[in-house]
């Protein structure tokens, strides 16, 4: 179990670094979703299921939906004013 936890913690750092360095917003949001999922599993390993279910439902669930909605709204505004300048 300890090894599994270390692997998960390592993948947390990898996710955080990749969120920092990806250029495209959509991929960074998806990576951020997986970051919350891994955090949720780590709460399970640390014997606190309350946090796991809250992080899953509130953290990974609603926050990611809001991020996707913001991106959709921004893409809608950009497509509507037709500016072809590719936003990073």
């Amino acid at each position: 179990m300890r090894l599994f936890e270390c692997i998960l913690l390592l993948s947390l750092i990898v996710c955080a670094m990749s969120v920092a360095f990806t250029k495209d917003l959509l991929t960074s949001i998806i990576i951020f979703m997986s970051y919350s999922l891994i955090m949720c599993i780590i709460w399970m390993i640390l014997q606190s299921p309350d946090l796991a279910i809250t992080e899953a439902a509130v953290g990974a669930g609603v926050t990611s939906i809001l991020f996707f909605l913001t991106l959709k709204k921004i893409r809608a505004i950009r497509k509507e004013d037709g500016s072809e300048q590719e936003e990073g």
């Binding site: 309350d50 509130v58 939906i65 809001l66 913001t70 509507e80």
Partner: protein, 328 residues
């Protein structure tokens, strides 16, 4: 006489007098670049974007040689600024890592934080709060003031999002934005998507039952108001996505949202004030704790969990609709 007059214009006193009158700014030239770019000595603000800075400078000064010189100076200062911020962050991380190295080792039982506070929660938690899940007992009974502040944080967060994104459509520019939001919504949402509707018919009841289970069993199994409410909220969001605003409007409107939030938070406030008041004045609170393990046990914790679940569900659904269309 005249000599005195014409050097008066350039004299220091004339400049000071015009500065007092507010016409010219004595440090005008020196500070102009300063104004456009965040000042250097502030290390905590993010540095200006290279492209924006160059374009900004060239537009303001045109090809003035002094400006080009200053532009190069600004670029060095920007790069130095960025390096300084990274060094500062690394410094903070190193100090914190060094501190972690001298902290007690995780996981052994003799850490300073496993003291009599945690011991009493575990030993007498069931008797005093009636909750089998000690964490929920601690949140809603021992340290109830934090959780009361907590639901107020969520309430004021939803108020701020309401201020920003709700489109009442009464003022002129507001109605234009409302039309744009409406057209966005129709254009991007696939309406009457059979696959989504069929899945929603299967999934939404299961999600709702699961959410209600988490809320009601908050004091018996892990979960409680916050997570159960979020699950209920996501169930509502799925239903809205599958069947659109028309069907959802019949069941869940803006007025209902306001009423639910008001009643739930008022009940929460009154119930908690009652238990604080009786506790502080050493009065006996007449709320039965019930038999541990039964659903209707643990006194106030069950109704509080229901209230928090309702508030969180409505707030999550309101966030979704406000982000998407600026209205229920």
């Amino acid at each position: 006489m005249s000599r005195k007059k014409d050097n008066y214009e350039t004299s220091r006193w004339r400049k000071f007098k015009s500065w007092v009158d507010g016409e010219t700014d004595p440090l005008d030239h020196g500070m102009e670049a300063h104004e456009a770019i965040p000042p250097r000595e502030d290390i905590y603000d993010s540095p200006a974007h290279e492209k924006a800075v160059k374009e900004e400078l060239s537009r303001i000064y045109g090809e003035d040689r002094k400006a080009v010189l200053r532009a190069r100076g600004i670029r060095y200062f920007q790069r130095f600024y960025k390096v300084m911020s990274v060094v500062l962050c690394l410094g903070i991380i190193m100090v914190l890592l060094w501190t972690v190295a001298s902290l007690p080792i995780t996981g052994n039982a003799s850490n300073p934080d496993n003291n009599e506070v945690a011991a009493r929660y575990i030993e007498k938690g069931l008797q005093e709060t009636g909750a089998v899940n000690i964490v929920t007992g601690m949140i809603l009974d021992y340290r109830a003031f934090d959780t009361f502040g907590e639901s107020c944080v969520l309430f004021i967060g939803s108020c701020c999002v309401l201020v920003l994104l709700r489109l009442d459509g009464d003022s002129k520019n507001e109605s234009i934005r409302k039309m744009i939001a409406e057209s966005d919504d129709r254009h991007f949402e696939p309406k009457n998507d059979i696959i989504l509707q069929k899945c929603a018919c299967v999934l939404v009841p299961i999600i709702m039952i699961f959410g209600v289970y988490i809320v009601l069993n908050g004091h018996l199994s892990p979960g409680g108001g916050f997570s159960g409410g979020a699950v209920l909220g996501s169930g509502l969001i799925l239903y809205l996505n599958a069947f659109g605003y028309g069907k959802m409007g019949k069941m869940f409107t803006e007025k209902l949202y306001k009423r639910i939030t008001l009643c739930a938070l008022t009940f929460y406030c009154l119930a908690k004030s009652y238990s604080f008041f009786t506790g502080a004045n050493h009065l006996e609170s007449k709320i039965p704790l019930g038999t541990p393990g039964a659903i209707l046990s643990s006194g106030l914790i069950l109704p509080l969990n229901i209230c928090v679940g309702l508030v969180v569900a409505c707030t999550m659904y309101a966030f979704y609709t406000l982000f998407r269309k600026g209205g229920m």
